[in-house]
């Protein structure tokens, strides 16, 4: 490349950089479509279930009276509802997040298993008085104002 004129070298560098950056962008766009995990509300999950094993997020309320600890002592099962009819059974092994109780809002990360139970790998609950999973916030606006009141106590 040392034989090239200065102007040409700059051009070559620009072209190489552009090619790499554009291919990075395309690669990102393509894999984002495949790898992003979509957010479901309970009724959406029931109506239009994602493929088994595909990572998704499920957001809703922990149904009152549904929280159970299984005999192994570390697996819990509960139902996530939208406070209407839709109920999705969820199973989770692990230490419950702080502030996780019946009636509170939760976002469960995981995937749907073949028998229709949602296997959560991670639970996101309210972290502190200033933080609510954003999905729950939005839901409260056009879905259940009451739910929001319960889950966002202390929020301005």
């Amino acid at each position: 490349m040392s034989g090239l004129k200065a102007k040409h070298q700059r051009l070559v560098l620009i072209v190489i950089a552009l090619v790499v950056l554009i291919s990075a962008g395309l690669l990102a766009a393509w894999s984002l479509r495949n790898q992003a995990s979509y957010f479901y509300l309970p009724d959406q999950l029931l109506e239009n279930p994602p493929e088994t094993g595909q990572p998704v997020r499920l957001g809703g309320m922990v149904a009152a009276g549904s929280l159970q600890t299984l005999p192994d002592g570390v697996t819990i099962s509960f139902a996530v509802t939208d406070q209407k009819e839709a109920r999705v059974p969820v199973r989770y092994s692990g230490i419950l997040p702080d502030l996780f109780v019946e009636g509170s809002g939760v976002v469960a990360e995981g995937s749907l298993s073949a028998d229709g139970t949602f296997i959560a790998t991670n639970l996101l609950a309210k972290h502190d008085e200033n933080y609510v999973p954003r999905e729950l916030q939005e839901m409260s606006e056009h879905q259940a104002a009451k739910m929001a009141e319960e889950t966002t106590v202390g929020l301005k």
Binding site: M1, S2, L4, A6, K7, Q9, R10, L13, I16, A17, V20, L21, S23, A24, G25, L27, A28, A29, S31, L32, Q35, A36, S37, Y38, F39, P55, R57, T69, D72, G73, V74, S93, G94, I95, L96, D98, L99, E109, N122, H127, D128, E129, N130, Y131, P133, R134, E135, Q137, E138, G154, K156
Partner: protein
Amino acid sequence: MIAELGLAALWLAAALAAMQLIGGATAQHNEESDLALLVRPVAILQGLLALFAFAMLMWLFAVTDLSVKLVAENSHSLKPLIFKLSGAWGNHEGSMLLWVTVMSCAGALIAAIEHRLPEKTMRATLAAQGFVALGFYAFLLFSSNPFERLPQPVPEGLGLNPLLQDIGLAFHPPTLYFGYVGLSVAFSFAVGAMITRQVTPEFARVMRPWVLGAWVFLTLGITAGSYWAYYELGWGGWWFWDPVENASLMPWLAATALLHSASVLAARDALRAWTIMLGVVAFSMSMVGTFLVRSGILTSVHAFAVDPERGSFILALLAIYIGGALLLFALRASSVAEGQRFALTSREGALVFNNVMLSATLGIVLLGTLYPLVTEAFDVRVSVGPPYFNPVGAIFVLPMLMVMAVGPLLRWRWDRFERVRLPIAILVALVVTTAVVIALTSDIGVLPLLGLSLAGVLAIASFLPLRGRKLWRTPIATWGMVIAHFGIAVALFGMASESAFTSERLAAVNPGDTEHVAGWDVTLQGIEPVAGPNWTALEATLVAQRGSGDVVTLHPQSRNFWAPPQQTTESALLTRWDGQLYAVIGGQAQDGRWQLRLWWKPFVTLIWYGGLLIALGGVLAIIGRLASDLKRRHIRAQAQQRRADRAGRAVGEAA
């Protein structure tokens, strides 16, 4: 009174920033105007005033003045003093004041000591610095006034989020802000150089310590933040690809690229336009980071409060600064003359490769972070996590690391491939052998496998630039590079080892039961209530033993804070040379058993030691550069002195 003093200082500083901008702008037409001559003193005064305002805020927090809204909302009279003080910047308004304070002080510093660039360029730089600061002053004064009074003082403050009541918080955000602000100085230098068409090696040399400094702080901030998330959240992970983590990673990637291209510009007078562009991009990433964190627009555990008005304010600032800088770049890029040429096989070539790959990685992270925002506009909610970031990022990071092993061995400008063929062949052979051996002996994923085999080779390769040199005569800056590259290898090894070989055990146990994880026997002895200054907790006593080694006691807690009421899990860590035992205690099941989660994470600590080494490398590079700058200045002064003497003698003889 204290609050009003702080507010007055802030207004005054804002006025001075405006003056700095106007003075710097008029200096471009009339270098000797009164305003132009005032630019430097004004910049220094502005820095002092901002520092004063910040000191006033610290004071308010120290004495817990509950008539000030910010104190009432974020502090509590019973908090330990250190957390009262760190509470001053553990909230939105205070942290923005800290940002602008650090920025003005940086501006004051360059105004006071930097004399290497042409005065016109310096004034343009300070004008840019004033312009950026002015936007942040406006933001503070109009939408997030930290000194706002309450109509009625409250009897007691609301307290600080317990997750944030940690010594890590006292240092984590300021460290990141120093990094962001260092990049704002680099940005101002880039704008100054563009306006006055002075994109020279000298400009790169002046800018470089700031970029290096910003990079060191960002490295430390990211390392500390990662460790904080690791032990405080109790999830056992050290990086979550959380938007706020990405917000600190993106400026780091840009700063890494910038410091390498600035080195090319300083040493070889090549990559002029590219360095300027990176200077703009790096600061844009700091602004994007601030925007993401402060606007609460993305779901994050770090987002303080969701406030659309503040979000749009920062977005507007971002648009003005970055749009303006890019426009300036478009207008001036063609007039930035082409720098020196170089061959493909040369150190410049390797550094260009590194720059392009870093930029691609930056693009990957940026797109992944913003993608949820884009889909939200179409009413589709998604979250993007490790399944995207890890493999896609690795496509660009791994080739870059391979070139990193070889690049420092190449000569500037032009090199024969044959000269470095032997080391390259040995390194490649080593990578392949390790990869095959690991793949045959254990069953781990592709990425950890590549990471482990690359890490070992990188560690060796990072010391190759010292080959054939006299170690005590090697420049300090070269040592800095060697150590930083070695740090990358160390951190990479920790990451790969953690993700490949972590063992986990989750069980419900009665007191007296023993659980096993990766050769450790862990017994739950009992659970007792304990109390701290502003919390109560259930504390487990765990006894851990590996084989027939020493018996160690661990105390994980489940803590309840009462102001504000909140529960947190405090993990307990046991560090050994070859890894960490990580224990978390959960709730009690109906049958009386306690949930216990244990991890054994081999070599996980190397991740953060690697980060520290990288930062140390950066510090050495700064010291090395500053030392050689001082030496050069000294030599120049001596030469001048000699010339003056000779002239004096000549005059004397003539007389």
